[in-house]
Amino acid sequence: MTEFAITGIGVVGPGFGSWDDCARVLRGEQPYEAADAAIVAPPILSPRERRRASPTVRLALGAATQAVEQAGRQAGDLPAVFGSCHGEGKVTHSLLDALTAPEPVLSPTQFHNSVHNTAAGYWAIAHSSQSPCDSISGGDYSFAGALLIGAAQVVCEKRAVLVVAYDAAMPEPMNAKRPMTGAFGVALVLDQCGAKGAICEVQCVQAPTGAQWAAVSHSELNTLAAENPSARSLALLEPISRREPRAVVLGCAPGAFHEWTVTPC
């Protein structure tokens, strides 16, 4: 049995800047007002890195910072698993565009900031962390993929792990070919069951079937979940926000499903 506790949650998305904001909307206590995600550069970055950090890096690090604070952990002590469908889509577009010039000259900074693990690298640099930072892509299933890899690490290594999923629509012309909406970042600090300060415990087992994405009760948030891979986390965040025991089936790849059973602490 793969089981773990969640001790910290961070969310940055369209219409909310924190897990508390998001939880109030998921509980129906607050109307949802869609707005561009408030993506601010986390103060953990040096001024130079803040200038260089792409919106996706800011999104990931913003959510991660919230979750680690809530869990009362030192960021540098936590191994991290970052998950994102495209990673640095905006930087990648800029390089692809530059390559079409007759004598293309790429920006060296843009090039090393185009790798999928740019957010993971900035996170480690910001905290002078030597803890391992993984970077996963599961396409549309990147959130569940990163969660699964993170959960396996908690179980095998008996240690807390930070899981961060973040996705933003790529610039045109790419977004027309693979449409995504908005920018959404979510971070969870996973720990062993019985960990102090746990918000909930989660059990994970393989499931035979499931939906392409798990439905969210709130209709606008359900649309968001359909259009942004990281927002598919909202299906799992909903029972957590309501402190309801519930099983949610998430796909981690086409045709591969897991049932995640949330038990509030």
Binding site: L106, S128, S137, G138, I149, C156
Partner: protein, 399 residues
């Protein structure tokens, strides 16, 4: 950690198509690097190109996935009977119990480069028939391999730049450890594209000559392409007709937390990764018979790695970089180095550092300038990537 069996393996790179060809090239000390001859790659450099990708017959049912990277993946799956070994494991465990965890740094981006060249002049739209999700997505690689092998277990692409396919071993080992699967197809694929060649040129890390890792006159990398796959299972689960090929004994991983593209000069993160890999393998430094170095050929990488290797393993452990033969295969560099080190165990060979004229006189570690023949029991392979991502993998003989 409890060791895992590697019950099938394959490698396609500039040194050969399949493990036998690669082993023969290794023994003959034959580099696969050549002057760039790709018509669409407009840079003066040497490349580790895999021949035959352009003419490969690609599965018609998966034509939307057709791109250079998935072609190389397909070539890998068809080599060394790899797909057949996976099919046998799938029959035994069930397709849903076999995970696919693969590394890549740029997936099928060559397809997107061509699509950008063909944008509609008026609207800027990408051409019809360009399948971004099936080729450009990082996940395209795992998606394609799952479909080609008819697997339905958990899947992920690992993309931590040049350590991607070493980290894939670690993530897959944990999926098995947590009983989220019974076996895993692990490895990585990266292919030549303009973005990486031009990008490394912009960073002034690309050598125009064939790369010379660990040489005193080294001047950067040569980029190559490779597909490497292994099948890992819990010990003693494979069929008697297919005894284990090698054993995965341990791994280590760390971050530099230092700089996006330059290594910590003391190789502190690399030291952590190697120490952890030794600890998990229950081995001491003097039990490592050979180290396959990350050894890219850039002045900073090789120097930092030498500091780290000599600090952790001392001055006597034979070590070499094989990137002078394969080129730096980026997201596939991890599995390439692991399998080249594994060939050392299988064939009793400690390969020389290819393309070396004179070892950097400042180096303290034992860089092999000639190939050594003799028993090899335990090997360690390093892979380091942008973002300060370090992995070390330890393999042992199967029995």
């Amino acid at each position: 950690m409890d060791p895992l069996d590697i019950t099938a393996a394959t490698l396609v790179c500039a040194m050969g198509r399949g493990l036998d060809e690669v082993a023969a090239a290794l023994r003959a000390e034959k580099s696969g690097l050549r002057p760039n001859d790709l018509p669409w790659l407009d840079v003066d450099t040497h490349i580790g190109r895999v021949d035959g990708l352009e003419d490969l017959s690609f599965p018609a049912a998966l034509s939307e996935y057709d791109c250079r990277n998935n072609r190389l993946a397909q070539m890998g799956l068809a080599s060394d009977g790899f797909a057949d070994h996976v099919a046998a494991a799938s029959a035994r465990y069930g397709a849903h119990r076999i995970a696919v965890v693969l590394g890549t740094s740029t997936s099928g981006i060559r397809q997107t480069e061509a699509a950008y060249e063909a944008r509609d002049p008026a609207s800027g739209a990408l051409p019809d028939g360009f399948h971004l999700k099936e080729t450009h997505d990082y996940f395209s690689l795992a998606d394609f391999v799952r479909l080609a092998l008819k697997l339905t277990g958990p899947a992920a692409v690992v993309s931590t730049a040049c350590s991607s396919s070493s980290r894939a071993f670690i993530d897959a080992a944990r999926l098995i450890g947590a009983d989220l699967c019974d076996a895993a197809v692990v490895g990585g694929v990266d292919t030549l594209c303009r973005l990486t060649v031009r990008g490394f040129k912009a960073l002034e890390l690309l050598d125009a000559r064939p790369c010379r890792p660990n040489d005193r006159s080294r001047a950067g990398i040569s980029i190559g392409e490779a597909a490497g796959f292994v099948l890992i299972e819990r010990p003693d689960q494979s069929e008697p007709s297919n005894p284990p090929y090698l054993r995965l004994l341990g791994f280590g991983e760390s971050s530099d937390g230092y700089h996006m593209s330059a290594p910590n000069p003391d190789g502190l993160g690399a030291q952590l990764a190697m120490r952890e890999a030794l600890r998990r393998s229950h081995l001491t430094a003097d039990q490592i018979d050979y180290v396959n170095l990350h050894g890219t050929g850039t002045p900073l990488n090789d120097r930092a790695e030498d500091v780290a290797v000599s600090a952790v393993l001392g001055r006597d452990v034979p070590a070499s970089s094989t990137k002078g033969g394969t080129g730096h295969t980026l997201g596939a560099a991890g599995v390439t180095g692991v399998l080249l080190a594994g060939l050392g165990i299988r064939h009793g060979i400690k390969p020389k550092n290819l393309n070396i004229e004179a070892v950097d006189p400042d180096f303290k570690s034992h860089v092999l300038t000639s190939t050594q023949i003799g028993p090899v029991r335990h090997v360690l392979a390093n892979a380091f990537g942008f973002g300060g991502s370090n992995c070390s993998i330890v393999l042992g003989a199967a029995a």
